[in-house]
């Protein structure tokens, strides 16, 4: 059971992120919600690669113990890099929107509708 705790945590993170995305109106909070979902997914990936009693896959420290498979960690790293790029882009758009609309309230930023 205790081994499944990280999976529960990542589902909780994703649900919290979706809650933030649906119910919070501040643009920055929406970005934070996206990042929460992303953290949940990253936690899920990194948990998949976890193996108890094994060492980090660093070649020069190879002992007798088993190594963790590095693929999920590589996936997580790639996902983090992509997440950084998307977050930077979204935040820049948030800055631009604030400059044009003079508000960060998503319910007031609705010139495009219908």
């Amino acid at each position: 059971m205790i081994g499944n705790l990280p999976f529960v945590a990542c589902v909780v993170l994703i649900i919290l992120g979706l809650y933030t995305l649906i119910f919070k109106r501040n643009l920055i909070k929406i970005v934070i919600g996206l990042n929460l979902v992303q953290c949940g997914v990253n936690l899920f990936l990194i948990t998949l690669g976890y193996k108890s009693d094994s060492v980090a896959p660093i070649y020069t420290m190879a002992g007798k113990e088993e190594m963790v498979l590095p693929t999920p960690q590589a996936l997580t790293l790639t996902s983090i890099v992509i997440g950084l790029a998307t977050t930077a882009l979204i935040l820049s758009f948030a800055i631009l929107i604030y400059k044009h609309y003079k508000t960060a309230d998503a319910s007031k930023i609705r010139r495009l509708r219908g």
């Binding site: 994703i14 995305l21 643009l27 929406i30 996206l34 979902v37 992303q38 997914v41 899920f44 990936l45 998949l48 693929t71 999920p72 996936l75 790639t78 996902s79 992509i82 790029a85 998307t86 882009l89 979204i90 758009f93 948030a94 631009l96 929107i97 044009h100 609309y101 930023i109 010139r111 495009l112 219908g114």
Partner: protein, 516 residues
Amino acid sequence: MINEHLPALIIGIPLLAAFATPLISKINDKLRNIFVIGVLGATLCLVVSLAFNVFDNGIFVYVMGAKSTGLSLPSGYRMPIRIILEVDGMSIFMAIISSVVAFFGAIYSWAFMHKETGKDKYYTLLLILTAGMFGMEFTGDMFNFFVFLEITSIAACSLVGFKIRRGESSEAAFKTMVLYTLGALFVLFAVGILYGQYDALNIATLASRIQYTAMDKVALGLLVAGLAMKAGAVPMHMWVPDAYAEAPAPITMILVANSQASLYGIFRVCFTLYGLTISTHTVGWIIIILGILSMFIGVTMALIQKKIKRLMAYHAISQTGYMLLGVGVGLAVLSDANALNSYGLKAMEGGIFHIINHAMYKGLLFLTAGAVIYTTGKRNLNELGGLAHKMKFTTIFFIIGAAAIAGLPPFNGFASKLIIYESVYKFNPMLSIIAMLVSILTLASFVKVFQSAFLGPEIIKIKKEPKTMIFAMLCLSVIIIAFGLFPDIVVDKIVAPAANALVNSMQYIAAILGGA
């Protein structure tokens, strides 16, 4: 020698050119434009030559970084460990669309973006977007698919918000980016679920191992929902009119191709990844329902729009519905060999044929809308009128595009819609009747655009449209008319191999894993 490396070159050359573009911009603007158009033209040639290769020799496998290009399984391995590009009929079909659209988009941009600043970034992002689309279409690896999906998302949203002087552009880009990121994260989650169960990321290996357990069903739902959102299916379509209307016209044309690359993702997941195990009837009906909703709500919303590009964006949603309907019917009868041969395969051919037709005529329509906005500076249909007096070429191109999208013979839209109507009628007559009704409403709303923008007395002053814009529109019109006059050649040569590639998922698996 160059033949062996075609898939890698098609992705690599636009990417290399993208990073070189800012440096070349420092020298000269004109040189940079010629460079970008030349690179995209060369990519188009490479795609065509790869297409001949694939149609002649079957599936093309390219292993990145291996000792030889086709070595997917080095001796002693039971599963591929490297990133593999796998090009079959469907992939190359989508790549043809992407490369044609990107090439004409770059030509059109020359005059259209003339007055803007920051054009070096514009062309860099355009090339990255193109490379990302090729990557999504060629890759044989689920995680790599996610990476290219995000590359296209980031490049597309930056281009949507390119005109930072307009608040609406930033608004559209923000909304689109939130949805794109969320959808891509769910795709990544699904990839994680699949990887956790089967220890593989390669699509062919996953397809050969998949059991369709409860977790696989969750992964399928996440993949279908995430990718359908990016393809613009109703009711997750709200970003489409925002993004399509605010992006510069040539980018809108490429965004259509980008959405279709996500559509390709749905088809690849449903047919190849889950093809052997899926309960095709349920998933097929999910896709059909999404398609019907998209068709109907898209076209009815389009009828009441006041802005020219927003109206066309709603039509893009509606036309996506036809593709989902055609291929969804094929998926629904995939396990029933009799039905598949009698009408399922034809419906898929219709849906897939509609993809290329839609990219061409919707691209042409967006380009004419761009020409209208460029010459008049107005987006609202209420302020337009009498454009046909001065913009004779644009008017003719608009008529061609509108007739094609409304399914008037002898243009290409009619040919693909006819296939969809007739084959879907055998599956379920109701669906076919809805599709015809939608087609009538499409014609009605384009009559409205034509009447209010192009006919009537001259009420506004306009300037003439530049030559490069006319050239790009002319080429797309020629393609549309050629496809309309000789639809059989297109269907036989490129559409039928694509439909067969989707149906025969065993071939896709065997190309990587040997005769397993």
